[in-house]
Amino acid sequence: MAVCIAVIAKENYPLYIRSIPAEQELKFHYTVHTSLDVVDEKVSAMGKALVDQRELYLGLLYPTEDYKVYLLMPNGVSYKCKKLLIPCVKSMFPNQLHRYGYVTNSKVKFVMVVDSSNTALRDNEIRSMFRKLHNSYTDVMCNPFYNPGDRIHSRAFDNMVTSMMVQVC
């Protein structure tokens, strides 16, 4: 269950961030922010060699704290999704905060924070969630009234994110 989903622009400011228990929003914001460093690290490590479908998906960033953080960076321009698959990084932290990431060529990132206490969220499910996010994001991009760099206010996008968060919870 995604407890927080964030869309981060190339310049590392949030385009869209939403978390389920609203009072912990600030905490999630920090979580996502720290994840960005890991993202950059992974991205620079990958280089440009990999241009595969699976390579945008960064996988588990670090399963620290209460939640897992998943990171997704959608490809903003080309419709061929590229995912970076990186092995999960185990951490010493006792808490189970999992974050997963996904990066695209245009350096827009999706970060998903998942409550791992419910476990059993397989990799494929995460990928499919990111795919849906990605598709909704591209639909938002297609709207000529949306200026890249604005906050995302699309209701369709909101609905999709809600469905993901509710379903997972």
């Binding site: 591209t138 297609c142 709207n143 000529p144």
Partner: protein, 631 residues
């Protein structure tokens, strides 16, 4: 016995007497006729006693509603308030009246909407979902009851009632007055005939038939869903056309009157069978699409239904942005256009989200109409819906547009070759103005060839028309606009649809031709294709355009513009079309390059600024240091 009252009533009406004269005559005739045949075959739920005059009147009305194209309230009655009454052949009990026409008729009775709803319910149309003869007759009887002041109930219709009265328009009454003196019995069909002729006539003039509904209805009931300024223009415009049309057709051939309504289309031979076919198919599509109780878009309880004049207006606006009705309006173009509506950007963004169903960043004609309609509604204060209403869905609008677009295309080609010729020229100019080099050289050559193609095309359009219906729906999915704005294809409307037919066989040939078309602009590929039918030749440009799009979408826009000459053709035209493709591709590439360069430029400017500041700082330091060295 039936003829007696009919003749009596007919002559009474024919005299054009004052209102009171014929009404008593009708009542007398009704009384004289007694119940007699009364109940026709289909009256199961309520045994309905009908006098002969009523029988004839209702049957004629029913026939009219069944077979008529969207006729107006003139299907009602002669000016002396009451009736009609003649021996129009009774349609079979299985026939159903077009919901649209029935709604028009109901509204023409000038009863309040609530009463009409009651009537619709009582007569059973709501229950069964359509207006069969039973329901129709019961409805008419109820209307008569309501107009007589009786409560709208089943009991009311059991007694003898005068015939229901339907308010006619001024035009209709004028015509009717002039006709009544000459005709016996068929005079009500005359206004109908003239209306139908008007539709043909106007269709010949390039208008759509649907337009007839709304201008005709405008004096009767102002559509509450279109109070904005947008609609005022089309209303008056359409209505003016109607009047002029009717005046012209006022001397309609009287000989048509004796034909049954079903045959009226065929008797107007000068217009060909197609208008009739289209009309009937139009009626069917309209009656299928809409439920009886909400059959007309003027009903106040559905602001999300597009009225005819609104649709007309939207289509005109679409054409002003994109002359090809089957193509797209790009996002940027639509954005500029909709921004003029002065709605806020978030609202416009939301409207776009609702209306761009396939989320491709471009608006097809139905999507555009839906978006426009939402904007209009919003400006009039309606809150935006959570999801796109069913009546604004593209597939819902598409079927309605299909007919009208078809008509428009057909008659554009027939009657307006010149504007179409001018369009490609204008389009070519718009496109090429963005390119510095090749524009002037190629434009004149292409314009000349365009004229030739147009001339050839027009002659073959009629052959192509039957295919349009099936092809047009495939046209949209078949078109893949590249991410930048699709350059409007010069040979628009008519031939797009037909060219789809040849697209598929051509696609198989294109792979073989791609390697041949190595040199993009230079022509004279070997004519490896077997000589094709004359039709194909004219539509080759569209085929090439679409093939080009297909290929470019597959191979990337950076590829050499492949212009396979699929068909044998005059070298001049081939060369010009290839040049056009090349130019279009070049335009796209240049635009992309421009965008990239602009971004690069801005970044470099920023860097330059930073460097300047550093330099200034360094110079300051230098200034401070200098006195130290001088000791």
């Amino acid at each position: 016995m039936e003829q007696g009252p009919a003749a009596a009533v007919g002559t009474a009406g024919a005299v054009g007497a004052a209102a009171g004269a014929s009404a008593p005559a009708a009542v007398a005739a009704a009384a004289a006729g007694a119940s007699s045949s009364g109940v026709s075959a289909g009256y199961c739920p309520v045994p309905l006693p009908l006098s002969d005059s009523e029988q004839q009147c209702y049957s004629e009305l029913f026939a009219r509603c069944c077979c008529a194209p969207a006729t107006s309230s003139s299907s009602g009655h002669p000016p002396p308030p009451a009736e009609v009454g003649r021996g129009a052949p009774l349609p079979g009990p299985a026939a159903t009246a077009g919901a649209n026409q029935v709604a028009d008729l109901l509204r023409a009775s000038q009863l309040p909407a609530e009463t009409l709803h009651q009537i619709t319910e009582l007569c059973g149309a709501k229950r069964v979902g359509y207006f069969g003869p039973t329901q129709f007759y019961v409805a008419l009887k109820l209307i008569a009851a309501a107009q007589s002041g009786l409560p709208v109930q089943v009991e009311s219709i059991k007694c003898e009632l005068p015939l229901p009265q339907f308010m006619a328009l001024k035009n209709d009454s004028e015509i009717r007055y002039s006709n009544t003196t000459e005709l016996h019995g068929m005079k009500c069909q005359i206004p109908y005939v003239t209306m139908e002729k008007n539709s043909f006539k106007r269709v010949d003039d390039g208008e759509k038939q649907q337009e007839k509904i709304s201008p005709v209805m405008s004096p009767v009931s102002s559509p509450p869903s279109s109070p904005s300024n947008y609609q005022r223009v089309p209303l008056t415009y359409g209505y003016g056309k109607l009047r002029s049309g009717m005046d012209q057709m006022h001397a309609a051939p009287y000989e048509t009157r004796q034909h049954a309504l079903q045959q009226e289309g065929s008797t107007s031979g000068s217009h060909g069978p197609k208008p009739t076919r289209r009309q009937t198919s139009l009626i069917q599509s309209l009656s299928v699409e809409r439920e009886p109780q909400e059959s007309n878009s003027n009903y106040p309880d559905d602001p999300w239904r597009i009225t005819e004049e609104q649709r007309e207006y939207y289509i005109n606006q679409f054409k002003s942005l994109q002359p090809d009705l089957s193509s797209f309006i790009s996002g940027s173009l639509a954005k500029n256009f909709f921004t003029k509506s002065k709605l806020t950007i978030p609202e416009l963004s939301y409207i776009w989200e609702l209306s761009d169903v396939d989320c491709d960043g471009a608006l097809t004609l139905p999507e555009f109409c839906a978006a426009f309609h939402l904007i209009v509604a919003r400006k009039n204060g309606y809150p935006l819906p959570e999801s796109l209403p069913q009546t604004l869905q593209p597939d819902y609008l598409q079927t309605a547009f299909l007919k009208s677009k078809w008509d428009c295309a057909l008659f554009d080609s027939y009657s307006e070759p010149m504007p179409v010729n001018q369009q490609p020229r204008d389009l070519n100019r718009i496109e090429k103005s963005s390119i510095k080099e090749k524009t002037d050289l190629t434009a004149p050559a292409q314009d000349v060839t365009i004229d030739d193609k147009q001339a050839l095309k027009i002659s073959s359009v009629d052959e192509a028309m039957p295919k349009d219906l099936s092809v047009d729906t495939a046209a949209k999915p078949g078109l893949l606009p590249p991410p930048p704005a699709l350059p409007p294809r010069p040979f628009v409307s008519q031939t797009d649809q037909v060219s789809e037919i040849e697209l598929h066989p051509q696609l198989t040939r294109t792979p073989s031709q791609t390697e041949e078309s190595g040199s993009p602009v230079k022509k004279d590929l070997p004519h490896s294709q077997p000589p094709s039918k004359p039709i194909r030749r004219k539509f080759r440009p569209e085929n090439q355009v679409m093939e080009n799009q297909e290929l470019s979408s597959v191979t990337g826009t950076s590829s050499v513009p492949t212009v396979p000459t699929v068909k044998p053709h005059a070298p001049v035209q081939k060369q010009s079309s290839k040049q056009k493709k090349a130019i279009q591709t070049a335009i796209r590439k240049n635009k992309e390059a421009n965008a990239v360069l602009a971004r690069l430029n801005s970044e470099l400017q920023q860097q330059l600024k930073e460097v300047h500041q550093e330099r200034i700082a360094l110079e300051n330091q230098l200034e401070q240091l200098r006195p130290v060295t001088v000791l």
